[in-house]
């Protein structure tokens, strides 16, 4: 069995996933990094994050919309490391459409990837973590799960599913020593929001109490905190990382 802790980060080819992988690499984790395909970006991430003394990151192609690929990824992870300490359940897709113009395929895809895909990942990870009665799972929710967003009905609903599964899993897996939390990012400057024009970005900046958008590294810092031992008494929490876009009332 691998000696150092093992962290699996989905969607690590860019954006929040890559920023998280970079941070976890500095904290001594063996990394397993996934993307939809074994893209040059994913390979570059593995090359960049090869650390002396640790095995190089293991790249895996996993489309979260394909449960058989998820099962195969856990088999590959098991044969490489035989343990899992952290899952960063990060990969996700956003396809925007107004309610009346949301094609069935898009609605199904959002749920298949963001909701069911995340749930299958959580299922596989918790099975491996149960062997050692320890582990930490960090899911990627979203502010839109709690406050909605016009043009994002399927995405918002799929992220609300992520919030729900975080709470249910925290209750069920706590007695097994496994913590489950989520971060709910606001608007993060990644390719996911590449289609947002300047006016929309400006409006989103103004809506945030801090008057700005969020950087991927800032979300990664919150994820790494929830993944690691500093948050050992924290489970079932959904931590906003949104520059004050949502300030909950007491």
């Amino acid at each position: 069995m691998t000696e150092a802790p093992v962290a699996l980060v989905t969607g690590a080819s860019r954006g929040i996933g890559l920023a998280t992988a970079r941070l976890l690499a500095t904290r001594g984790y063996h990394l397993v990094l996934t993307g939809r395909t074994l893209s040059p970006a994913l390979q570059a991430a593995c090359d960049e994050l090869t650390t002396p003394g640790l095995s190089p990151p293991l790249p895996l192609a996993v489309d979260l919309g394909e449960p058989s690929q998820i099962a195969a990824a856990f088999r590959a992870l098991f044969s490489a490391h035989r343990r899992l300490d952290v899952l960063v359940n990060n990969a996700g897709e956003l396809h925007e459409a107004l309610i009346g113009m949301s094609p069935p395929g898009t609605i199904e895809r959002m749920f298949a990837v963001n909701a069911a895909g995340s749930l299958h990942m959580l299922q596989g990870a918790s099975r491996l973590m149960m062997r050692r009665q320890q582990g930490s799972i960090v899911n990627l929710g979203s502010v839109v799960a709690v406050q909605g967003s016009s043009g994002q009905i399927a995405y918002a609903a799929s992220k609300a599913a992520v919030h729900g599964m975080t709470l249910a899993a925290a209750r069920e897996l706590g007695p097994r020593g496994i913590r489950v939390n989520a971060v709910a990012p606001g608007v993060v400057e990644t390719e996911l929001i590449a289609d947002f024009g300047p006016e929309r970005r400006e409006a989103l900046r103004r809506a945030a109490s801090l008057g700005r958008l969020v950087r991927a590294e800032e979300v990664a810092a919150a994820i790494a905190f929830l993944a690691g031992p500093e948050s050992s008494a924290i489970t079932g929490q959904i931590l906003g990382v949104d520059a004050g876009l949502v300030i909950p009332s007491p």
Binding site: R75, R127, M130, R131, R176
Partner: protein, 80 residues
Amino acid sequence: MPLSALRAVFVEALGLPPDTDVDALTYRSVPQWDSVAHMALIARLESRFDLMLETDEVLDLSSFARCREILAAHGCRFDD
């Protein structure tokens, strides 16, 4: 591997008295083998025999006898 090794995993994981007739056990046939204990049993089997079961197999593992067959499919054979 001796069958007693598999019996021992059931006794430990389910917290059964040592004189339990393990070979006759089926899921929920004793109060100790409930759904929560089932997942603990799976985790114990996987660590002890260093294998990874598929979700279908987890659901299908409904008796000691069936467990023996499923583990055999993973290359773990037990002698009586």
